[in-house]
Symmetry: C2
Subunit: 330 residues, 2 copies
């Protein structure tokens, strides 16, 4: 034994290294969460539903956890990432569509006139999305979306969007999976905009990503059949659409739901009204230094009714500024 | 060592017990399949895609296998089980609907007049399905379907429908899962008619069951929110709908597809046209002694175009009479 080894052995005796194996499992799975009530609620819930013999025990097959995406897993300000993609895409495609220079909402996008874009309302946004997301195959769209995400940068943070995911949420996803949960994204965003990267970034495979859908049509061809994306919405996965999609795609009611806006209200309600122990969580964006602060007055991620009713419904409101030690991955 | 133990040791030496661990993995995973070309195609395919370093190797996350249900995993003659459920359900509900005794297609059902039911055509069947599958919550429907399956008996075999599943297919599902595949049901039948029992019978959990869907509407209520089944089709998972549903629900193209009718044609085409090694299989019902014999002339499970094109597309046609040692579980 070298002197160094002896020193280590002594240190170990003092620091209870003999308990190392046990200590290893005691490593904090949520180091980016401050030790506040929010974190304690999560850990207590997971402890109960995973403890055999406990009245609240839930078998692994039913440990379904659903997460909103925009504003819950990644940044949604100053606008939804997918909208930024659509606006960039209009600029890329403009040379092939000369009429766009004189036609709204395209003219407003090409001139960078945000007020004029907003003035075209939901119908304008719908038109922008269809012009940029449809009339190509599913394979072509996956490539366009992937290429854009590889080069686009967030206007404030100057980083790729897929790095503007929340570190505490990545830890929570990994922690839940380690405890036998199956984690799902249930997003108002388009499912095929998300699937190319959710496995790499969140550890969530394509089949566990639920989102809004554009209509698809199968084109038969023995050698190269294709799925064409039609310029028509097939399903909007928002508000009351979320529990509907959860039933259609998963077929089992979740026991944990995490959202950040009124668009997640029904998903939280459906989840937490089930029998047995349930956990509903809302991320409240309160940190304009490290991220953004918004709730009742925003175009993206409006949080009002869900905030008002959170206490009565025993939903945990996670305060970003107070509860998170770090926001983004290093 | 006792005499008995010595004998065992000697026997072991003779019988090469030292190789026991290897011998264990050599147990035939498909004992109900005769050792014909069909079985050899399956085993060869699985061997290639699961062998690291092989040019055809497929990582587990992409080992998606999709199976039609009616006529592929369970009996579909003399009529789809779900239609038998609908007809029985009309009889059960009739006392609360006196008008049915004089109105088609209900009158024909109540009088057991099969020709008259058939004469009402697709519209009649649609009306029967909506009258028996809608206007209740998802929880209520799951109970009604489960209760019926627990007591209903097949008219010829006099056994519960969930026991009229094909033993060779149960073995194939288990074999594929043991080899890292994820197995899906992709059925023209209603997804919520299947989900209550697929895990118990096929080992396939609700989230891996894709099917036709009735429209759902979320009913908000803090204590007991519900999903109401509306009398309207939301999605028909048949023919070109199958690849669409596979993309919407799984988001990854399968590498193995197994069907038995022209309604599976596009699913087989979509699966086998993908890059790399793929396997398409068709179950041909050729055994009217042990099950049924039908293909081009049937109301349920019509198999014509897929049979004509199978050879050119290199789809394996499994001949029930020739290829299966047993049909149903003992």
């Amino acid at each position: 034994m070298t002197t160094h080894a002896v020193s280590l052995a002594l240190l170990c005796a003092v620091a209870a290294c003999q308990n190392a194996p046990r200590a290893a499992t005691d490593v904090d799975p949520l180091p980016s969460w401050n030790d506040n009530a929010s974190k304690r609620s999560i850990v207590a819930f997971v402890g109960r539903v995973t403890k055999r013999g406990d009245a609240d025990y839930v078998p692994p097959a039913e440990r379904i956890a659903v997460f909103d995406n925009d504003g819950t897993l990644w940044v949604e300000q100053p606008m939804y990432t997918q909208l930024a993609f659509a606006l960039d895409r209009v600029k890329t495609l403009a040379p092939s569509h000369p009429v766009w220079t004189t036609r709204q909402p395209f003219k407003a996008v090409l001139e960078g006139d945000k007020a004029a874009i907003a003035a075209t309302g939901e119908r304008g946004v719908h038109e922008l999305v269809m012009a940029t997301h449809a009339n190509m195959t599913t394979d072509e769209f996956a490539k366009v979306a992937t290429d854009w995400l590889a080069t686009a940068r967030h206007p404030r943070f100057r980083r790729p969007y897929t790095t503007l995911v929340y570190q505490p949420m990545l830890e929570l996803l990994a922690y839940l999976r380690a405890q036998g949960f199956t984690t799902y994204v249930v997003s108002g965003g388009g499912v095929e905009f998300l699937r190319p990267w959710t496995e790499r970034v969140y550890g969530i495979p394509p089949r566990q990503v639920i989102g809004s859908r554009i209509a698809l049509r199968y084109r038969s061809d023995a050698k190269a059949p294709a799925l064409d994306r039609l310029p028509k919405a097939d399903f909007i996965d928002d508000g009351p659409g979320k529990p509907v999609a959860i039933e259609q795609m998963i077929g089992v009611r979740p026991i944990l739901a995490f959202g950040n806006s009124d668009g997640d209200f029904e998903m939280l309600e459906w989840t937490t009204a089930g029998r047995g122990r349930r956990l509903g969580l809302i991320l409240h964006h309160t940190d304009d230094v490290r991220e953004f602060a918004y709730d009742r007055d925003t175009h993206f991620g409006l949080l009002s009714r869900a905030l008002d009713e959170a206490a009565a419904r025993r939903w945990v409101v996670v305060d970003m500024k107070r509860d998170w030690r770090t926001v983004f991955p290093p």
